[in-house]
Amino acid sequence: MKAKILIIDDEVDYSTLLSRRLRLDGYDVACYDRGEGALETIRRILPDLILLDINLPNISGFEVYNRIKSDEELKGIPIIFLSALHEKEEYCLHFLKADGFLKKPCDSSLILRTITFVLAPLR
């Protein structure tokens, strides 16, 4: 079965193009553009992996991350940060223990490799 990926990013142009690229590689992709209501969306879609932006209006990607990780039902879903704030890499990987950090702009080949790598142990 195709893995389901949820992109949470307020840059709709970006998430649209990224979702098209991921679909070419066979993924089932959904997009959401806010921090508010993200948890409900995740609960509804139940993705295998989340690509999460940091700079979201009102509720930041960090807050969304923490909410997912403190939710018993959702905390097992791997999360890869995808952000233009390159200096947050260490914080995301070492402090938040996120599953990955990708720096925008990023080659889609690197995004695809990272997704495969993160999903591999779960398959």
């Binding site: 840059e11 142009d13 970006y14 193009l17 990224l18 098209r20 690229r21 070419l24 233009a84 704030l85 925008k104 702009p105 990023c106 080659d107 889609s108 080949s109």
Partner: protein, 365 residues
Amino acid sequence: MRLKPKTAEVLLLESEARYRRLFETAQDGILLLDAESEKITDANQFLLDLLGYAREELIGKKLWDLGFLKDIKAAKEAFEILQQTGYVRYDDLPLETKSGRHMEVEFISNVYLVGSERVIQCNIRDVSERKRLDRLKDSFISTVSHEIRTPLAVLKMGVDHLEASCMERFDQEESETIEAIKRNVERLERLIDDLLDLSRLESGKTGPALKTVQIDSLIQEVIQNSQSKAKERGIVLKDEYEKDLPPLMADPDLLERVMSNLLDNALRFAKSHVTVITQKMDNNIQISVINDGSPIKAEHIPTLFNKFIQFDRPYGGDGYKGTGLGLAICSEIIKLHRGKIWAESMGERGVQFHFGIPLKNKDAL
């Protein structure tokens, strides 16, 4: 009527008046102290205005009795260094005015003899505004860079998607268009990364993370990584090392950056050969990157390490556009290591870049 020659006394008075006027009208704060008693003997008007004290409040007091020095312990240590070496300089010393306003000053102090008395002169310049503007510039560059990265990410993803989905349907011109967009998106990415790196290096926010570095292994690794690029361009890339090079204290990541920037440049402009020579010269490790390629005019050499400097070279470069920041970044990194970097034009025989890092770096940094 003949003018009488001036007496020594008159000359002395005139000279005294000249220097007094210089002292009083200087646009830097000047403080004079007696080196033995460490008490203030005079202060100019600019300093009084800067700190908000009256002259009588300062004269006869010791520096640390007045409360404008924020770090008394450091000030006493600095004073001791000054007494021993005769000179001390701080780029940003925190001070507080009488009314409690904080400021950062450049503080230069030296000791000299007047007759048999040792006098300490402190020159104090308010650099708060300069520092504020520097911080503003850094935050501006950082914000702008992030704001540019976001639309750039959209462009890159768009091109990636087109390439993956319909490249085989494109004719040659269309493929070339896609390639040109890709190249220029990457160029913008490099430019932003370089700008941010340079601004970080210049602000001193990220000092070098010093470790013991075996320079020959570090260079061998960079060269190894560049061999495929050299082969692609039909260039012979060689390295030569002096035997038993001592280790040095340096930031390996930053040195690697310098090496790859210099090698990238050399490979872009070389005709057929690039040689890297590593040797000990006096108390430095000197590394030379030599290419036999496109000459640089002698008049361009002094400005090579400035920002956004790019020249028309007679040939070479493969149409690749640099960011114009690579050598400025190298220069900042070498400065952080208290080293030197320079270039020599060999005319039609090519160009040599050299940098030297002091071996006794531990104490210097």
